[in-house]
């Protein structure tokens, strides 16, 4: 059976939802003829027509704003930011309007904003960011960041069906690197549920997105040294699946939070806080974080390599923590 890439998984998920529900439509830049900057929407114009695959001017705020407006009318818009970095141009519409509509006046805004994020592609300061933490600090939103093709497909489908606004981060470096066997039958993956990606005894790494693979590589290496590392893949970043995280940490007694986004103010802080409060009695060592350092994402390979967290950095910290 043919393996499905991460990018193809997202595409399939959207495609299936477009087939299933005539109210689902796409809005963004260069989605139609071009199939999107990363070709996620390739072929959709031919299949679904201009009515449901809307190429817009370069107007991120209007793309999101229009999606919200259409969602009030019963439609299910899937908006694309060409790069996650440009989501800051639509920030007000997302955090001040979409996130609050239900709360303020009981008006659901079931939109999905897709945002290809992440580094490792030499995109430099404007095409590599991981801006998820901003949105995790915005009640009313849901935030998703799948690591596997299986989850990418299952979660984009759930996101489209969800009745709340969802920010959906797709990691660019995984688009073509990750390949999996996907089920023939339809499936969805529930929002708000983390997954134990790999079981382990000695310590827990909580992570998501591309860093799941850095953790995996580290775990393989550590296993050879007899260190058994559990990996929790968050999948959904908001709401946080605290239960799964705490269960793992209570089991292993040691926690590392790992993300590609920069350290200060990143999601690692939130997770550490929850662990330090709610698993305090179970902790056998300091709660560690591994993240990119506090600077923009640099362009040149030696700088970007130094910037990005990787297996080596995880191994070092994990060893230290194991021996703590």
């Amino acid at each position: 059976m043919a393996l499905t890439t991460y990018v193809e998984a997202v595409r399939q998920g959207i495609w299936e939802e477009m087939e299933r529900d005539p109210d689902v439509f796409l809005i963004g830049e260069d989605l139609g003829v071009y199939g999107g900057a990363f070709k996620v929407t390739l072929g959709m114009l031919e299949r679904f027509g201009e009515r449901r695959v809307i190429d817009t001017p370069i107007s991120e705020s209007a793309i999101v704003g229009a999606a919200i407006g259409a969602s009030f009318m019963g439609l299910r818009p899937v908006a694309e930011m060409q790069f996650a970095d440009f989501i800051s141009c639509a920030f007000d519409q997302i955090v001040n309007f979409a996130a609050k509509c239900r709360y303020r006046w009981n008006a659901p805004a079931p939109i999905v904003v897709r945002a290809p994020s992440g580094g490792g592609i030499h995109g430099g300061p404007f095409h590599s960011q991981n801006p998820e933490a901003w949105f995790c600090h915005t009640p009313g939103l849901k935030v998703i960041a799948p690591a596997t093709a299986y989850d990418a497909k299952g979660l984009i489908k759930s996101a489209i069906r969800d009745n709340d606004p969802v920010i959906f981060f797709e990691h660019k470096a995984l688009y073509r690197r990750v390949k999996e066997d996907l089920p023939e039958q339809e499936y969805t993956v529930p929002i708000g549920k983390a997954r134990v990606f790999r079981e382990g005894r000695d310590l827990t790494v909580v992570t998501y997105g591309a860093m799941v693979y850095a953790a995996e590589e580290a775990a393989n290496e550590l296993a050879r040294e007899g260190i058994s590392m559990e990996i929790v893949d968050l999948r959904t970043l908001l709401p946080i699946d605290e239960e799964t995280i705490l269960a793992s940490v209570r089991k292993t007694s040691k926690a590392i939070l790992l993300h590609e986004a920069t350290l200060t103010g990143g999601i690692g802080g939130e997770l550490a806080a929850r662990i330090a409060e709610k698993a305090f009695e179970h902790l056998d060592g300091p709660v560690l974080r591994i993240a990119a350092p506090d600077c923009p994402v640099p362009y040149s390979p030696p700088l970007e390599d130094a910037f990005l967290p990787n297996a080596r950095k995880v191994i070092e910290k994990a060893r230290w923590l194991y021996h703590y």
């Binding site: 209007a62 009030f72 009318m73 007000d92 001040n96 309007f97 239900r102 659901p108 009313g140």
Partner: protein, 344 residues
Amino acid sequence: MAAVKPMGFSAGLSFSEALDSEAGLARQALYYMQLMREVEERIERKLYRQGKIVGGVYVGRGQEAICVGAGLAAEPDDMLFPCHRDLALYFIRGVHPRQVFAQYMGRVGGLTRGKDGNMHMGDLRLRIVAIISAMAASVPVAAGAAMAQKYKGSRDVTMVFFGDGATSRGDWHEGINLASVQKAPLVLVCNNNHYAYSTPLDKQMACENVADRAPGYGIAAEIVDGNDVFAVHQAARRAVRHAREGRGPYLIECKTFRMTGHSAHDPGDYVPKHLWEEWAQKDPIDRVRRRMIEEGWAVESELDAISAGIRRDVDAAIEWAEASPFPDPSELLEHVYDPAPRSI
């Protein structure tokens, strides 16, 4: 065009006349304009000073012809996006004044049950989208609503209201441009009241009219006397027809003046006195009233009776609102998310 079915809060008022006759329009318009003025006066000049209003107060005094004239040109299925000086739109759609008072007082009887306040209210069932506080943020949202109307093949249109100040925002530009490229059925109603807060027009834009921007979007536009409810209404009808016919957005710039400070805490003393005086002569309510009497559409006593009816309704509405309880703190975390997600 079918007349909007109004609530007619005041028992004494009959809405049998169609909007298609000027006399009929005058009656309905006068009613809603007066109701708006009365409700806002109570809020601003009484309840606010009595400390009964929880937050800020922004009124549309002197500008009532705009939301009333335009609002009466929309059909019940059309979407409305009011701005902060368009209170009458709510009444036209059947919101009761008591709900508005309760809203301003933060009571559960308000449209948002105290979650949000003052004119920040909406109800999708009534096809009114709640104000978005960031000026002009509503324009792309309204563009999307209009795109959805087209998507669904309906004949409905969307009407979005904003001030001159909002036109400086990037969202205004992006929203109109997108709507125009998409030929979405969007009617844009600008209340150009010559000020954004304390900032006069010449510090906001270097063109003479907001409508001068329409050619840059390839959309139709016209400028009307915003204090003449008949003129506004006719322009709005043209605009609605244009949009309904699939010819894309239509901008109406209504020249008017804000007869108050920006909000209840602003005396507006940066406004040259002569402007207050000039514009006081053009009061849109006085004008309709005078015309109705001149044309013989009504006699003075009849109109006085309507005013009295409104005052009575408003008295009762305030009483109702004051009796409406504050929300219970247990409601604090309700409705942040869908409590019962669609089963998937």
